[in-house]
């Protein structure tokens, strides 16, 4: 089992325990998303060993990731603004790029342009959320704020992966200790992402417990 899959499974278990009874449908949907993520990672690992190509699987997963992450951003931003127009615009742009990528090089090669733009869009959403948070007159205890930590994890992952996305085509030749460099970078980014997300799910559960008492 790879380190990434281990952290994904841990995050999925935490999400299952903390969010399964959450009143918010969007947060509850994270359990499904993380389950799909774990299945994709395990299948992807098997495909890589057995068939040496798992890029088509991640092309499918990209659609699911774009959908669930946009849904979460929509929910988080809706506290401050009507988030539907920007979220739907982002999704429309991604759909166009996805179609362009598939038309350009087929479905078996990873849609790196769509992945790069998706990261940029999520980074922009994250910064926009922080901008709205700063301008909010109401005080929020950020140490225990689920949206804050969820966005932090997403921002770290997508901003951190920008360099990898930009040089994606040159990277297959760059290897360290027998592994592709992207393996180490994505492992580190995934640890940060799933740690932040796990913490945000715990905060969500904690807030629910507090509000009940």
């Amino acid at each position: 089992m790879s380190v990434v899959i281990f952290f994904e499974l841990i995050c999925f278990i935490i999400a299952f325990i903390t969010l399964i009874k959450d009143a918010n449908f969007v947060w509850r949907s994270m359990v499904v998303f993380l389950l799909i993520t774990c299945i994709t990672e395990i299948t992807g690992r098997w495909l890589r060993i057995a068939y040496h190509n798992n890029q088509w699987l991640y092309n499918i997963f990209m659609v699911i990731e774009a959908g669930f992450t946009s849904l979460m951003f929509g929910s988080i931003l809706s506290r401050y603004i009507n988030s539907k127009p920007i979220i739907l615009s982002g999704l429309a742009l991604l759909l166009l790029l996805y179609a362009h990528d598939v038309f350009e090089h087929g479905f078996l090669i990873y849609n790196d342009l769509t992945a790069t733009v998706m990261s940029v869009i999520f980074v922009l959403y994250s910064f926009y959320y922080y901008f709205l948070l700063i301008n909010d007159e109401q005080y929020i205890d950020l140490k225990r704020s689920p949206p804050f930590w969820w966005v932090a994890g997403t921002l770290f992952f997508h901003f951190g992966s920008t360099a990898v996305n930009l040089f994606f085509t040159s990277l297959p030749h760059v290897k360290i200790a027998g592994h592709n460099i992207t393996y180490f970078i994505f492992t580190a980014l995934s640890i940060i992402l799933y740690s932040c997300w796990s913490y945000s799910f715990i905060c969500k559960k904690w807030l629910r417990t507090i509000s009940k008492t």
Binding site: L142, L155, V164
Partner: protein, 264 residues
């Protein structure tokens, strides 16, 4: 050669990833620090609100106290005297002399009538602090009636501009209390015979100008301890609603005081 190029790309990717990780880290740290400042700012605002509310309550009490003092003085100096005199007149009536008795009864009726008139004025004075609900200008008019009653002062009151539709009772109360303090100072220290009061409603603020022809004082050379609680309170009170008090005075040249408060 190719290995060198690969090493370069590897270093570039690692350095770029590190930078791309440091950027969000800085943003998140900044937000956490900013948020900590935000809570401090909110706490300070809450404290200021508490202090403001306390000052308003204190001002209300002072206005009521001033009204009570005025009533007490009026009861003692005017109504008490009038009623004593009428009692004395009535007790000195001799029924054997009907003409004299008639004159004394008439004098007593006159004294009682004046007492009733005084009582009516006193009733209005008693409502003085509630008059602010009707309007600041109305409350000032009643205060002036009280000053004029003493017969020692000639008071000119000018009211300029239109009172805004949205009034601010807190600011009205503070301005009214400042006026009372200024009038108290004039009565106690100035030996003035003429007082001019002007209330002017401007686009963004309300201005109260008061000047007298009293002995005045040298505002610059007056030590802080002698400035008196009254003057300090005026500045403090105007300050809590974002206003300012300007005092201009010279020895034997009277005093001019202007209070400017943003309104509403």
């Amino acid at each position: 050669m190719q290995k060198m190029a690969t090493n370069n790309i590897q270093n570039l990717i690692l350095a770029a990833t590190l930078i791309f990780l440091l950027a969000p880290l800085s943003v998140i740290l900044y937000i956490l620090v900013y948020n900590r400042r935000k809570i401090k700012h909110i706490e300070e605002k809450a404290q200021m609100k508490l202090a403001f509310d306390a000052e308003i309550v204190k001002t209300q009490l002072e206005v009521q106290e001033q009204t009570m003092q005025n009533i007490g003085a009026d009861l003692h100096d005017n109504i008490g005297q009038l009623l004593s005199l009428s009692s004395l007149t009535l007790s000195s009536i001799e029924l054997d002399d009907p003409e004299k008795a008639r004159q004394k009864i008439e004098a007593s009726i006159d004294l009682t009538g004046r007492s009733i008139k005084e009582m009516r004025l006193l009733g209005k004075l008693l409502q003085g602090d509630q008059l602010l609900g009707v309007g600041l200008s109305e409350a000032i008019c009643h205060e002036i009636t009280w000053i004029e009653k003493s017969g020692k002062y000639q008071v000119n009151y000018v009211h300029e501009g239109e009172m805004p539709a949205n009034t601010n009772l807190d600011k009205d109360l503070i301005l009214f209390r400042i006026l009372q303090e200024i009038i108290n100072n004039i009565i106690k220290h100035s030996f003035a015979t003429r007082i001019n009061i002007k209330l002017a409603w401007k686009a963004q603020n309300v201005e109260l100008h008061i000047d007298d022809n009293g002995v005045g004082f040298n505002a610059d050379s007056l030590p802080a301890a002698q400035m008196g609680m009254g003057l300090q309170n005026m500045n403090k009170r105007a300050g809590i609603v974002g206003g300012q008090v300007f005092i201009k005075s010279q020895q034997n040249e009277g005093t001019q005081i202007s209070v400017i408060i943003p309104y509403p």
